[in-house]
């Protein structure tokens, strides 16, 4: 669908003579002319420009709505446009969430050269999160926007459960990086629950999963964003320290609690009084003690993943091929599966396969260890933050979780007063 407009036509003339020529090229006497075929190559450049422009425009609209207008209206429209354009029209590829893997792959695979548009799709939302918070998630990401558009109720999930589940995006991120860095596959793309809905077709299992997630998002906001999305995890680091921060109201909070239930992702935190009054010194000591568990967890995670590396490596083509070929070498009378057939017909040697098998295993050990350490680090930091309770006098937004949807604005009576005065 996306390609019916601007197509550059690549003219393909002049095939060279056949490499395998069982039959000679005929000498036609009747003046027969070879048919000329042309194959259209879509003008990817043009679409890239439109995509990036759309990304910037929508992010601009969202930022303007959040910071200048302080209303949700334009964000809602931006969501509709995003779902329609990035989702249904462009078929969901390439999205920022998946671009993590392209960037990772570009670092390890010299044969892969990163397209500029993919780079921009990766960087612009991160830059946006660093400046203004997760304005990309707000109404630009088609995955988030789709969930947002069906959201009706905000049943709050138990804090402990939500806290535990919020580690999943990081684990997902670690695995996505691992599989991209080992040139195995793009698991974020493979397990994208919404792409099948956008394309109205594809893997049935994933479509079913997407529908389940959408049904869930009717009752609690954005389950995918909160408990799965690896890009959201990445953005949350930057949004939690962003230069400008979204506030529920520019006026002082009167602690009316009206906004508390308006947040679809449970990012508004209630006032909290720190009962135990610790002296500074013991507080610092306690913090240092907690900090010590982080390296321990990192080491444990790294070791665990290193142990699991051979199992994880089985997802890799070359590793699978190795075991398939080995099995065939041991059972030469058995049936030849297509992979093994291809291996022999391509004239690859066993030495070649073994060396690439070992190469992949080495990669899996290295990147697996790093991925494990990342998971350990995240779990450690989450645990430490659980025990660091800072007092709050007002309702506040937890900026790492806030998806900048702007839903809380209209609930705050302080904002209404202003609206009436104007």
């Amino acid at each position: 669908m996306k390609k019916f407009l601007n197509s550059l036509v690549l003219l393909l003339a002049g095939w060279k003579a056949a490499a395998i020529s069982r039959f000679p090229r005929p000498d036609f006497e009747s003046g027969y002319q070879y048919p000329e075929y042309t194959y259209a190559v879509p003008n990817e450049m043009l679409w890239d420009i439109i995509d990036v422009a759309m990304l910037l425009i929508l992010m601009g609209i969202v930022t303007w709505a959040l910071y200048k207008k302080r209303t949700r209206g334009p964000i809602l429209w931006s969501s509709v446009v995003s779902v329609a354009y990035f989702g249904f029209f462009r078929g969901g590829c390439v999205c920022s969430v998946g671009s993590i893997q392209n960037v990772a792959l570009a670092f390890v695979d010299n044969s892969y050269s990163l397209p500029l548009a993919v780079f921009l799709f990766f960087m612009i939302p991160i830059l946006g999160a660093f400046l203004f918070g997760r304005v990309f998630c707000s109404g630009v990401c088609p995955l988030g926007a789709l969930q947002d558009l069906v959201n009706v109720k905000n049943y709050r999930i138990n804090k402990a459960v939500a806290g535990a589940l919020s580690v999943i995006p990081w684990i997902y991120l670690a695995f996505a990086l691992l599989y991209a860095l080992t040139r195995t596959r793009f698991i974020i793309c493979q397990f994208d629950p919404f792409i099948g809905i956008f394309r109205l077709g594809g893997d049935i299992g994933m479509i079913a999963f997407g529908v389940i997630l959408l049904v869930m998002s009717v009752f609690t906001g954005r389950p995918f964003c909160r408990f799965l999305c690896p890009y959201g995890a990445l953005l949350s680091i930057f949004s939690s320290v962003s230069v400008f921060k979204i506030g529920i109201t520019p006026k002082p909070c009167i602690n009316c609690e009206l906004c508390h239930n308006s947040c679809p992702v449970d990012a508004i935190e209630a006032p909290y009084g720190n009962k135990v009054n610790e002296s500074n010194r013991t507080g610092v000591k306690r913090l240092l003690a907690y900090m010590l568990i982080i390296p321990v967890l990192m080491a444990a995670g790294g070791l665990l993943m290193r142990q699991a590396a051979p199992q994880l490596a089985r997802a890799n083509r070359e590793v699978r091929l190795y075991s398939q070929v080995m099995y065939f070498e041991d059972h030469p009378d058995g049936e030849m599966i297509p992979e093994v057939e291809a291996f022999y017909s391509q004239g690859r040697t066993l030495e070649d396969l073994i060396s690439s098998y070992e190469e992949v295993h080495k990669d899996f050990r290295l990147y697996g260890t790093l991925a494990g350490m990342l998971i350990g680090l995240v779990i450690g930091v989450k645990l430490v933050r659980l025990s660091l309770k800072r007092g709050r006098k007002q309702y506040e937004i937890a900026h790492s979780r806030c998806v900048a949807c702007g839903k809380c604005f209209s609930y705050c009576p302080q904002n209404r007063v202003k609206a009436k005065v104007n």
């Binding site: 056949a18 020529s21 069982r22 039959f23 397209p115 780079f119 960087m123 291809a342």
Partner: protein, 194 residues
């Protein structure tokens, strides 16, 4: 002045402010480092890996192209490189190997969808054309042609049909690892076009 100093000593606020500034600076540096490092890997649109293509020399016609594409009808189609074709009467890509009679009855055809059209050119040559609306990329004719003929039929991902998935789902299951990302220049990998 004195009051200010007192406040610094007693209140954790300035320290918190300091940490906030530090973390902002770290995050800013992170954005710059990440962006800078990734930017070195960016290639211009001419050589960037934009499209998916089958390497016809590697493909072994495992049949997964027909079934594994995310599209209801695969974006892979058979392409006929006429200039490689022998224009044979007894076409290995047209007739089944066990065809009883060499006529154009459906049970003698390799192609399950009847997508291959045969036209008499001159004695003894026949021209074969693929009807791309019927072809589903099963590769049966390609297999026949490369086993018994010149290998002029081959499978290729049609750019006008392909959705350009970030990762081609056929590439994941391709038995011969034949599907890779290619730049604009080779947006179509053709047979014997070195």
């Amino acid at each position: 002045m004195k009051k200010d100093k007192e406040q610094i000593d007693n209140s954790p606020m300035p320290r918190r402010e300091f940490f906030r500034k530090i973390s902002k600076a770290i995050a800013g540096a992170g954005v710059l480092a990440l962006g800078g490092a990734a930017a070195t890997k960016v290639k211009g649109n001419k050589s960037a890996s934009l499209y998916w293509q089958i390497d016809p020399e590697k493909c072994t016609q495992c049949g997964r192209c027909e079934t594994s594409c995310v599209m209801p009808v695969s974006a892979v189609r058979c392409i006929h490189a006429n200039k490689v074709c022998g224009y044979c009467d007894l076409c290995g890509g047209y007739y089944r190997t066990n065809a009883k009679e060499l006529n154009t009855a459906a049970e003698n055809m390799i192609c399950p969808t009847g997508a291959i059209q045969r036209k008499f050119v001159e004695d003894p040559y026949f021209e074969y054309t693929i009807d791309e609306d019927l072809c589903n990329g099963c590769g049966k004719c390609v297999k026949g042609c490369s086993s018994f003929g010149n290998g002029s039929l081959f499978l290729q991902i049609r750019q006008d049909l392909c959705l350009n998935c970030n990762e081609c789902s056929i590439a994941n299951v391709c038995a011969s690892g034949a599907i890779t990302r290619v730049p604009y220049e080779t947006a179509y990998k053709m047979k014997d076009q070195a």
